[in-house]
């Protein structure tokens, strides 16, 4: 009895393959309204973290294209395109068009078109992280590019950023919880002034400061009893981060080498063409040679394009992801640390309350002329009250911790599946592209080699 998108493998085959890569498999237990698109569901209820995956719908071949292939039952489609430059007295910046098409009921209209700048995306990400500290929010492309003198308004940079922003919004749209966020809806639909005014609301600076201070204090204190699964998550994330960074760098290097190879290769064909002019008998084979060189150049250029526009961005996205993962694990740790701190404080208070009935304070109270029994009872009441408060607080913290753990576990499992699908698809497609490259390069070579062999002498 679940509303919204369902990964039911009994529906059309084309659909199930696409979806199951994106959504978690649902538990058969019908009590759970886990992935309801009901917008009132934002916090509070706990998640069942034991998501089972039905083997039947595990993805074998997820076709990874530049444009996301939308499964039929997806009900929201977001595109980012048309970068435009805006010049004001103070600054110059780029806005991107964000186009939304949706059949969701919580949206008043079925189509929206707005313009957003990087700042706005950044705001959205922060809001989502605020609301869901232990969910894995998709990464944004970097604010600045450190290495190389990359002009902020360089075309390649803008293109790459545009694609990454497109990815960002789509990943949110695919996320069962994040896509229900009110902030997300406003981001997609509000006019510029509406968005600006909405941004001003929400928890003020001071309260956010308070959160930060608590978080820092908790970090300093550290977690004492981290559950084993989060330990192994931490280890994995650290190792994975290193590997992704390496792969990112290697891919960049390959692109660079191929570009340089292409530059040199481009000089060959003109020389063969020049040579044709001096020859008679050799003119034909030389012309064929020229066409072979030309074809090789074209194919190599396409290969470079593919690597730059398809493989590299996904690797880079996962590099950025690992930062998010580390942050999320840290936040979870902080919550646990806070919980542990409060539990310890309670324990201390309890022992204190026993020690309260010790001599010194009684002596003081009798000095002051109060009835020791009365004073003791007053103090006891006071303590009981404090302890009760602390207990309530701790219960809330415990709930919060359990909630955090479960959301993280759930989202972690989802993230892992996505990662596996995405990277498998990316590398498989890359291998396919390389095969294509060789096949296409070979074609004119056959022409050159076949008519003449053994016809000589």
């Amino acid at each position: 009895m679940m509303s919204g998108t369902v990964a039911d493998s009994s529906t059309s085959d084309a659909v199930s393959e696409e979806i199951s890569g994106n959504l978690l498999e649902l538990d058969e237990d019908e009590d759970l309204e886990v992935f309801s698109k009901d917008p009132t569901f934002t916090d509070g209820s706990s998640l069942n973290a034991s998501m089972q995956t039905s083997p039947g719908s595990m993805v074998n071949q997820y076709k990874f294209e530049e444009e996301d292939e939308q499964p039929e039952s997806k009900d929201i489609f977001v595109t980012v395109d048309s970068p435009e430059s805006h010049v004001t007295a103070i600054e110059t910046f780029i806005t991107y068009r964000v186009l939304t098409k949706t059949t969701r009921s919580e949206f008043d209209s079925s189509q929206y078109e707005v313009r957003r700048r990087y700042q706005d995306f950044f705001w959205l990400k922060s809001k989502l992280e605020e609301a869901h500290p232990t969910l894995i929010v998709p990464p944004l492309p970097e604010k600045f590019v450190m290495k190389g003198m990359v002009e902020r308004f360089n075309n390649d940079f803008i293109e790459t950023r545009k694609r990454a922003l497109h990815k960002f919004l789509n990943r949110i749209a695919d996320h069962p919880i994040l896509s229900c966020s009110e902030d997300f809806k406003i981001f997609l639909t509000a006019q510029a002034w509406e968005l600006a005014s909405h941004k001003k609301q929400g928890p003020g600076f001071l309260s956010r400061m308070g959160d930060t201070v608590r978080a820092v204090a908790a970090t300093v204190r550290g977690v004492k009893n981290r559950p084993e699964e989060f330990n192994s998550m931490q280890e994995y994330v650290e190792a994975f981060s290193l590997k992704m960074t390496s792969l990112d760098k290697i891919t960049q290097r390959i692109i660079k080498e191929k570009k340089e190879y292409l530059e040199e290769l481009k000089e060959c064909a003109p020389i063969y063409t020049l040579w044709v002019g001096s020859e008679e008998e050799l003119a034909e084979p030389l012309k064929l040679m020229t066409s072979c060189m030309d074809r090789c150049c074209r194919e190599t250029a396409e290969q470079v394009q593919y690597l730059s526009n398809s493989l590299l961005p996904i690797l880079h996205e996962y590099v950025l992801c690992t930062e998010t993962l580390k942050t999320v694990l840290r936040r979870r740790d902080n919550i646990q640390a806070e919980f542990e701190a409060k539990s310890e404080a309670l324990a201390t208070k309890k022992t204190d309350s026993e020690a309260e009935s010790k001599v010194l304070s009684l002596a003081w109270d009798s000095l002051v002329g109060k009835d020791p029994e009365e004073v003791r009872q007053q103090k006891e009441q006071k303590l009981k009250g404090e302890i009760k408060e602390m207990k309530e607080d701790i219960d809330k913290m415990e709930d919060k911790l359990e909630w955090a753990n479960n959301t993280l576990k759930g989202d972690w499992s989802r993230w892992q599946k996505n990662m596996r699908t995405d990277l498998r698809a990316a590398f498989t497609r890359t291998a396919e592209k390389n095969v294509e490259h060789y096949e296409k390069t070979t074609a004119p070579l056959w022409l050159l080699s076949s008519p003449y062999s053994h016809a000589l002498v």
Partner: protein, 435 residues
């Protein structure tokens, strides 16, 4: 004939499983089939190379390489195992000496070139060191090629000095010097002078010289670019080796993806390693181009020799004409041309009849000699043009054949490289899809 291949792009026709070395053998076989008497009865090869040390002309220790020339009598009739080959060792400088001898002695022949003295057009992985084993090996092949080219040339194959180069271990050098060929060599200055001042060279030779220049320019450019391309290609392949390493490391932290990643990593390593063989084969194409690069020099030399012959003919004719004119002037007493003698005789008086008689007699002799000389030079020039043009045509056909083969074997090599690439990446794709 081969019409059906033109339409399809992926036609699989023709023997494309030939390796470049097999094609090279085809060239050798072609030479044998052309059948000079020499090659019909003698098998020639440069089998080995060795380092030697010794004292050179200025008594300094030097290291040099010697090459083993093996010759074996070809007995077409008998099916018995061939007898053991005769062999002797020669240095590169001796090959040079042989070639210089041939250049001078057969100036109308486009003499086959030697492999390069120093490694040029290298890309970074190849060493430019003459002692480098790869360079020595390629030189060995080049020297063998040179000997086979000479042995298959209709004129050069019959040369005795060449034959003793192959067979006579001792004192071959003395024999060569005894021919006195060095005295017959034309000085560069003389040749240059002729080139500038010749009035009526045969147009065909001028065109050939021009063609030689163009071919040299084109091939040099190609070789240079090719070296840079090889360099870059090497880089591209080798970086993929890093994928192999990282996939391997990554597979250690993954559960389901581990196997796929691990095996994919191995294929990346294989891909990176495959470039060494590819570039070695490609070197072969470069060597074939290089041979013709050096051939252009020999071609131009023949054209220059023609210019020299023609120039000498023109000079002889001019000389004869001027002598005849002088005779006429002496005989008739008129001075048509300005000369110091004429002036002085005007100033200081005429010569005596006896003096004039004597002069006339000398002139007559000179004119007679001049006419003989002119005839000689004329014949020389005509014969040279005839035999040189025959050899140039032969060279042209050989060049067309060989370069066509070179282009084809290059294409075949590239196809094989692509096939390997397809195989590796298909394998990798399988592994990735199992991730």
């Amino acid at each position: 004939m081969m019409a059906d291949t033109e339409s399809e792009e992926i036609a699989v026709i023709g023997n494309t499983d030939l390796t470049p070395s097999e094609l090279e053998n085809n060239i050798k076989n072609a030479m044998v089939e052309k059948g000079t008497h020499l090659l019909k009865r003698l098998e020639i090869s440069v089998a080995e190379a060795e380092k030697r040390t010794g004292k050179n002309a200025v008594s300094m220790q030097e290291t040099y390489t010697v090459y083993l020339i093996e010759t074996r009598a070809v007995d077409g009739a008998s099916e018995a195992a061939s007898p053991a080959p005769d062999s002797l060792w020669r240095r590169y400088s001796e090959f040079e000496l042989l070639r210089n001898y041939l250049l001078v002695t057969y100036s109308f022949v486009v003499v086959p070139p030697l492999p390069e003295k120093r490694a040029e057009f290298v890309w970074h992985k190849l060493s430019a060191d003459n002692m480098d084993p790869d360079f020595v090996e390629r030189r060995r092949v080049g020297l063998e090629n040179f000997l086979l080219r000479v042995a298959s040339h209709p004129v050069l194959a019959n040369d005795k000095i060449f034959y003793s180069f192959l067979t006579q271990e001792q004192s071959w050098k003395e024999v060569v010097f005894e021919t006195g060929f060095q005295a017959k060599a034309d000085s560069r200055l003389k040749a240059l002078n002729a080139t500038f001042r010749v009035k009526n060279p045969d147009k065909r030779f001028a065109e050939m010289k021009h063609y030689g220049d163009e071919l040299q320019s084109v091939i040099s450019q190609l070789l240079r670019v090719r070296a840079r391309v090889a360099d870059r290609l090497y880089g591209v392949y080798k970086v993929h080796g890093n994928y192999g390493r990282v996939f391997s490391e990554w597979s250690a932290i993954e559960k389901e993806m581990g196997d796929g990643l691990q095996s994919a990593g191995h294929h990346m390593d294989a891909y990176a390693a495959s470039v060494d063989d590819i570039l070695e084969e490609e070197e072969h194409y470069a060597d074939q181009l290089k041979e013709y690069l050096f051939y252009t020099e020999a071609l131009r030399a023949v054209c220059r020799k023609h210019e020299l012959c023609q120039f000498e003919l023109e000079m002889a004719a001019q000389d004869l004409t001027s002598k005849k004119q002088q005779r006429e002037e002496l005989a008739t007493g008129t001075v048509r041309t300005f000369s110091l003698k004429g002036m002085t005789s005007k100033l200081f008086g005429q010569e005596t009849p006896e003096q004039r008689e004597a002069k006339l007699k000398i002139l007559e002799t000179q004119i007679e000699e001049g006419e003989d000389m002119l005839k000689e030079k004329n014949t020389e020039a005509e014969e040279f043009v005839k035999s040189a043009w025959v050899d140039i045509e032969r060279f042209r056909e050989q060049k067309d054949r060989d370069l066509k083969e070179a282009l084809i074997s290059y294409a075949i090599m590239q196809i094989s490289m692509c096939k390997k690439g397809i195989q590796v990446w298909n394998n990798a794709k399988e592994c990735f899809s199992k991730m």
